[in-house]
């Protein structure tokens, strides 16, 4: 049981980082960047490629993370800003970010070929045993990075002036610009942070998945599911969704069958969206609402019988 929890949290941390990458961008710009999974893939492929070419691991990883961060910014300028300038309320970013995803994926497949390549191992040779359950240092690192990302983001958001301006932009971008906020600069920063978070997720999962151009699809979708489970309105909620999804997926693999994590997340997200349409952690007292939601629905069912 503890093993399921630990393994679940570590993979969930990776889902959560991807979900947070979606959520930070959405928080500031109200845009969902459908190329988020491909940003993860960019970090993995570059890191793997450079490491194979003989660069030291730390340097390959730094370049990989820088590239995914920069790619996030490029996506904003190429696929998002032009369509929003044309019409602030348009949904054309839906198509344009998906387009970027396909372009990135195809480019990676052409450059690296469709097969998997090795990924530099960071820490995963050593095991830590906690109360009978074991966790690799790599897995532990994922959890630590996730915690740092969430805590860091929340402190930044609530305690710094920049964070408060970000909150203002999130709730009313036009009014925020009317008090002097540079909304575009914040959008750029959000896409950069999104790229960095997705890249970090990639570097953390790379040693397990190896490097493959199609990883973006897998993790983009899982990250999006985690986002839906946790709640899209707050990046911290997205991370919560990732952790829940990770634990449930590992649990499904352990208790239902080895392929259960392929379909189980979708069952989870459907159930969550029925009971708590804005996500489990959309507001502070989400669990209370979830409980009352279950109560209400059971009452309705009983009434119907």
């Amino acid at each position: 049981m503890l093993q399921v929890l630990l393994s679940g949290l570590s993979i969930g941390a990776v889902y959560g980082l991807v979900a947070m990458a979606f959520a930070v961008v959405f928080y500031v710009t109200r845009v969902i960047n459908f190329a988020t999974g491909q940003l993860l893939m960019v970090a993995i492929m570059l890191t793997a490629g450079l490491s194979k070419a003989g660069l030291p691991d730390w340097l390959s990883i730094s370049v990989g993370l820088t590239a995914s961060t920069a790619a996030g910014v490029v996506i904003y300028f190429v696929a998002v800003r032009p369509v929003l300038r044309f019409d602030r309320f348009s949904f054309a970013w839906l198509v344009s970010t998906l387009g970027v995803a396909i372009v990135l994926q195809s480019a990676a497949a052409i450059i690296y070929g469709p097969t998997s390549q090795g990924f530099p191992k960071l820490l995963n040779r050593d095991n830590l045993v906690i109360g009978g359950a074991s966790i690799t240092l790599q897995e532990l690192l994922a959890i630590i990075v996730a915690v740092v990302a969430v805590v860091g983001f929340e402190i930044f958001r609530r305690r710094t002036l920049f964070g408060k301006v970000g909150m203002a932009i999130s709730s009313d971008p036009e009014m925020a610009s009317a008090i002097g906020a540079r909304v575009t600069a914040y959008a750029v920063a959000a896409f950069a942070i999104g790229g960095l978070l997705a890249g970090a997720a990639g570097v953390l999962i790379g040693p397990i998945t190896y490097a493959n151009p199609y990883l973006g699809d897998t993790y983009g979708i899982t990250g999006f599911v985690a986002l839906m489970i946790g709640g899209i309105e707050r990046p911290a909620a997205a991370m919560g969704g990732g952790l829940v999804l990770g634990v449930l997926s590992v649990g499904a693999n352990t208790f239902i069958g080895s392929q259960a994590s392929d379909w189980f997340p979708f069952v989870v997200v459907v159930v969550v969206l029925l009971l708590a349409p804005h996500g489990l952690f959309a507001s502070g007292d989400a669990l209370k609402r979830l409980a009352s939601g279950i109560g209400r629905r059971t009452a309705t069912l009983k009434g119907a019988n």
């Binding site: 408060k164 709730s171 009313d172």
Partner: protein
């Protein structure tokens, strides 16, 4: 030099202009009212001055600075500040954060920021009492005070207010009018959009009447006698 000098301003949304060839001015330290019926284009005039409408033609200068082609966030840095229709506070943040956000461009000038904060609290003691509450937890009248305070915090050359009396109880309206009079007495330049003629005449030195996107009447508040009021009322419908 005028606090606001508008010449030949046209602005609108999409393919159509909703205000046409507007010319108006606000002297330094003067309070001016812009009256008009629903849909006359009053909000559009304010939004155009603030730079919130891209589609604008004509000349707008604020204390000698041409802001006609400046982006909003630069206009907001000490030139113009707006209390918008519906207040639009940042509801998930505290009252004090709302105020401090208003003074964003002065963030490095701590002394000035604290002084401005003091002057807001002096004008609205209630706001000081509720400074750490979330803005949502305030009544409509209190929120309006915070919105005015947020505007004051940027120490702007020109203050714009869009129907600040809307949705307020009579007593709250009286308080708000007193606050605006105090601001005028402190030498601030104000352009006030209102539908309540009595309030506008009480607060302002001069008035303009806007109808169908054009200025149709202008005059001094004192000269608006019974006939004038009847005329304005006719325009306001």
């Amino acid at each position: 030099m005028q606090a606001l000098d508008i010449a030949g301003l046209s602005a609108g949304y999409g393919r159509y202009d909703v205000i046409h060839d507007i010319s108006l001015r606000v002297e330094r330290g003067e309070a001016v009212a812009l009256l008009g019926p629903n849909g006359a284009g009053k909000t559009t005039v304010l939004r155009a001055i603030m730079g919130m409408i891209k589609q604008r033609r004509g000349q707008i200068s604020v204390l000698g600075t041409d802001v006609s082609r400046m982006p909003v966030h630069l206009i907001a840095r000490g030139h113009v500040a707006l209390v918008p229709e519906g207040r639009r506070l940042f509801l998930d943040q505290s009252v004090e954060d709302n105020l401090r956000l208003g003074g964003l461009h002065l963030r490095r000038d701590h002394e000035r920021t604290e002084r401005l904060l003091e002057s807001v609290f002096e004008l609205f003691p209630v706001v000081e009492r509720y400074r750490s509450r979330p803005a949502t937890a305030l009544s409509g009248g209190e929120q309006q005070m915070v919105a005015i305070g947020r505007m004051m915090m940027s120490d702007p050359d020109l203050m714009l207010l869009d129907e600040p009396s809307l949705g307020l109880a009579p007593l709250a309206i009286e308080d708000m009018a007193q606050a605006l009079i105090t601001l005028r007495e402190r030498g601030r330049s104000i352009l006030l959009v209102e539908q309540r003629v009595d309030l506008a005449l009480q607060v302002c030195d001069r008035i303009y009447v806007l109808s169908g996107g054009r200025i149709v009447e202008e005059g001094n508040s004192e000269n608006v006698n019974a006939d004038g009021r009847a005329l304005i009322d006719a325009y306001l419908g």
